[in-house]
Assembly symmetry: D2
């Protein structure tokens, strides 16, 4: 395999939930090495984070600009090869932009940027620079999400007719929750989070999952968004009817105001001859109801012969040894690292089903924009393709 | 208890699914006696059905008009006291009307009538006649549906914010299914079923369940209905956004074109401090997620001390002895029979939570009308209260 | 179909749980009519029970002896045709005996009698008299229990290797529970319940289910029984290793001292090529794990084409309309009534898979005796066939 | 935190399942660094494995003896600090022994050794050497297993009465399976695996889980073991009754011949006032049935306030972000690394609930020995404490 892929990280200092997850995911398969980072806008916290991670203090930077500058001056076989962007949303764009400009590949937490316009601008830079850009739409990286996609792509169940996706969370259900944690405070702040709260934060996950499962695009949306919790500036709850570009219809619900809920992302895809069901909280099981047959429960497992080869390659353990959220994240890192390695070795890039691309990021932000506009216009139908075409 | 309540039935001859269910439900608790019937428009089948049921052949009638006429000439303590209406939808109205006019109480399968206008006309007759009228919205008669209603009514979970209800079925998923059975053929025929197919048939169940759980009314609807199966004249699939009259929002999905689905009616009610989940296919369990607490699974059972008294009264067995669809139906029959007994004994009518009333029937048809109009008007929001006020 | 089958009942007066269940089960399909009864040893309660049931007061008797005497003097087409025995265990034998002697068929709640010897004596009387005798081992009358039996009988899964059956209940978990109800008090009283408590009461259900599923007999037992609750005279908890007569092994657990448990009877059958799982509390689902295939969930339903015909005949509703405990009981009553009708019409008896026979009763009591002896002898292996041969 | 803990590994070369898991677990939290290894008895495979892992070729050894020798000659702050032993069972003892003798801490896959006698000998060496010794009984390292232990330890549910544990697997169900993989072949070979097959391999997991949950010791066993698959030399299936040292009873089933099963380890603990249920295949949920209350489902999650602090410390993600088998393994590695760090810093060792100790290893092998002896002696009760006292 050769030397590990060298990663730099922006964001993810002490107290940040998602940064730690990214690091665990990156380290899981032993193919990536964290060698540099700019972990916090607070210099002391950034330094301390780097120390705890055992990094060379010289490579723990106080600004991302400085990091990109200094790293690009290091020898080619020593400098970072890609940047993992795990900051709050408002920094995704500038950090990604700067990294690409400085000549680094980028793997970014979603959303790609705070607004549709920014995301389109980022897309231009990705195309212009020629560097690799990946988005961590984690829920599509579970093995059985990929199996669902494969079943639907083969047309085994006939035409897709209806999709129901819902993503209820409860952690922002009360007014006081907004100030309860670092994660909560920036997500409910328009200056950090962008024009949408809940729909940008988790509605985009639901949107991506629909497109990932069906291989189709959401082309129109008819939405009803609201802020149910007092004095909240951004949407924290909403639902939408939608149309897929090959004719199916669906509903999408996303809410962070559902008291008592955890992280209950779930999707149902109904087709002519059968239907599929998957719940993120029970990710190692995919329910398949074929007409006239017993319900089939497909299980994740590297040894499950009935799964597609590409799906089994996403499993690290045999059936009955549960994998989870971190492993799903690690699937993205592993595939992205493999792509970076291709670049290092000047070989053609290996396709990955689980690394989100900038186009997925654009469509996600187009969906958010469309949903906001529809909601403002009394839930009129809004076509999405004009946003990205 | 005294003598059993005497029931006459219209519809439900051999080969009819729901008629047999009504009879089992009526007989389960030993308080109702089937003494007369007009089981089929086909005289031979009607006669044969009556014989199989062990009825006195004199009381097996060839038309419902004849039945009401002859029964009303029998002695008061011998004639039927109420009529169970289990015909296809297009006869619900004329049979119910005639029964009320002839002086009989009516317990009708839903919908009350084929259209909103007919249902309003029926309501007038119910009010005018003063006889009892009940609708079998069966799914609201499960014990734990009633428990959910009680929890929400007490405000234990704070304000209702969002309701998600879905009713996917698959038995009409293919074009050939429409001619596959007696049940299918009239449901897909506008002359028998009314102006709507799926939304009238099962969307009304979902609508009723939302109103039953929350104690609120669906006041506005924004819908998208379609016929996905070729050459079908009525909607067989659709979804809607809706608003409840106390401010919550929701989505309702109803489809009979979901290949592989059974009868998967399910509802989620999300509130400030907790959320509730119930699935008709696992009716003896109600999931309650309170903020900060383990998920609670409430179980049905006459001995479950944590259930409300009125809920335990709807259980015939202790916890762990599953009850089902027929028992839910029987809960309606038992309560309706108790009301008929009150009338027989000239006592005040005992309230029942599980017997649907004509107003529920009106609101259900208003919902169907509103959904159709919204769908025709590019999913505009349509207010429902004008229909029933 | 002709006239209903006429049933007399012994036991099951007001406050008795199981008697009411038997009556609902008997009435469900409209083929049986309760015409006489001796409901209680307390004359006033018996009389009142009969009145509430709407019986002719002349046919509500103060003793079962009197009932059998007077009924047998009524005209043949009016007198009861079979007796439903729903008394506490100690009366099963004398009532059944007297009924057979008086010329009535008997359908008895289990166990057939309090001891092995009594059960063998009863078997002699059954054989001698030639009347029909049935036992209500209800859990084997669920449709999917029958489907499991059919799958195993066909050898689809290869040889049975291991069976795990458990029946944990919690309603007698504390000392005070023994006096908490009518049901509890006689079950913990050796003079009413026989030589065993828990193993006779529910261990026999587990035993029957093992033999029913596998079509094999439990031939040896190695048991460890105990009374865990202070001052209880009979076993209230125990477990056993067992051998089946075709070589498989298993474990059986039965306890009424498991705090918090409901009625959690469950069974797993492990074979060469696949395994089966069924839980009484979720009776409409049978889990089938075939080697190398997704897990299959078979659902109950009259319209489930993948079920055997005999199984679908035990379903009253299509898939997704749950049936339960009462319907399982009703399956026994319906089949037993069909057998009584055969006798009435002097036709050959139709076999039934769900009506337990006296041999099953003998084997169940042999199992209890063997388990008690094994437990007393430091869990030595005890062969069961000597008891019944 | 300071520098990472340096690990050497013995076993786990290419094609070995469990070695890769250990490495992922060790790397997950960024506190351990793999710096040396002897990955295979095949020199070429060992070398290639080391290369793929990016190790310094000088520290990829051809024998473990050589590794311990050379590593101990390296500078103190460079040499390995502990050895991860992931070989087939027959090498656990010699490798662990040699590592301790050479002055390294040991974290060993279970079982500690092939036989009871060897395990006792190893215990002597552990005590004598004073080095840390840990066993990876992974299933006890899931957060909710620890929560179950805490609930039972506090006595919230009253006395434990009965424990049911089962570990059915299917991967060795057919004769051909024994030669199907590296994992299978040594497990069915007495010269590699020891005196027992299935009971040593997975029965010990079940045994450990019982003791872990209850905080009690299995003191007596009455077992029935067999080889159900033709020509297999060791047990591949069995069950046992057992007694806990504070009076409870239980059953333990372990089988690798259950066709279609995955890795279905599950445990039920029944107490006076409530019962607990946990399944390894759904590890993020613990079912708690308290008498008279709804069933409670406890969920894993760092943010679940109702979990004990020590349990939340074992969670890396908030509720609804599933963790799995690798994370459970990583919990052991993290705790063991923390202990090694204590030693490095000459501080008192921090207790860990999830790192198995050598005494647990001794008791597990005593259980296997007792079960074998019981089975040979017609399932007589065998006391276990004489084996370890």
């Amino acid at each position: 395999m050769g030397k590990k892929i060298r990663m730099g990280m922006v964001g993810g200092g002490e107290g940040a939930f998602i940064g730690a997850i990214h690091r665990m995911a990156a380290s899981l398969d032993g193919e990536i090495e964290l060698v540099a980072g700019c972990f916090s806008s607070n210099p002391e916290r950034g330094r301390s984070s780097g120390e705890k991670l055992g990094l060379n203090p010289e490579r723990v930077y106080q600004s991302y600009e400085q990091m990109f500058l200094e790293e690009s001056q290091r020898p080619v076989d020593e400098r970072i090869e890609f940047v993992s962007v795990v900051t709050p949303n408002d920094l995704h764009l500038p950090v990604s932009f700067a990294a690409l400009r400085a000549g680094f590949h980028v793997l970014s937490d979603k959303p790609a940027a705070c607004t549709l316009e920014e995301t389109l601008a980022l897309k231009n830079e990705v195309v212009r620079s020629g560097y690799l850009y990946g988005l961590t739409h984690t829920y599509a990286a579970y093995p059985l999400a990929t199996q669902a996609r494969a079943i639907l792509a083969r047309g085994e169940l006939g035409k897709v007719r209806r999709v129901t996706v819902a993503y209820p969370q409860g952690w922002l259900a009360l007014a006081g929750d907004s100030s309860g944690s670092k994660q909560a405070s920036w997500r409910t702040d328009p200056t950090r989070s962008g024009e949408s709260g809940c729909f940008a934060d988790i509605g985009t996950h639901a949107h991506h999952l629909v497109e990932f499962f069906t291989g189709q695009r959401i082309s129109e949306v008819c939405a009803d968004l609201q802020s149910v919790v007092d004095q909240r500036a951004l949407d924290d709850d909403g639902a939408a009817l939608f149309k897929l570009d090959q004719g199916a219809r669906g509903t999408l619900t996303a809410s962070q105001a559902c008291g008592g809920e955890g992280n209950n992302l779930n999707i149902s895809v109904y087709c002519e001859h059968g239907s599929l069901f998957w719940e993120q909280e029970s990710p190692n099981q995919l329910q398949l109801k074929r007409r006239g047959e017993p319900v089939a429960l497909l299980k994740a497992g590297a040894d499950c012969g009935y799964l597609d080869d590409e799906v089994r390659a996403l499993c690290r353990t045999p059936q009955g040894h549960p994998e989870g959220y971190i492993e799903a994240f690690a699937n993205i890192y592993r595939d992205f690292a493999a792509q970076v390695r291709c670049r290092r070795q000047e070989q053609p890039i290996k396709e990955s089903s689980v690394v989100g691309d900038i186009d997925a990021g654009v469509r996600a932000m187009a969906f958010v924009r469309g949903a906001l506009e529809s909601s403002r216009a009394s839930s009129s139908w809004v076509a999405l393709s004009p946003y990205w075409e």
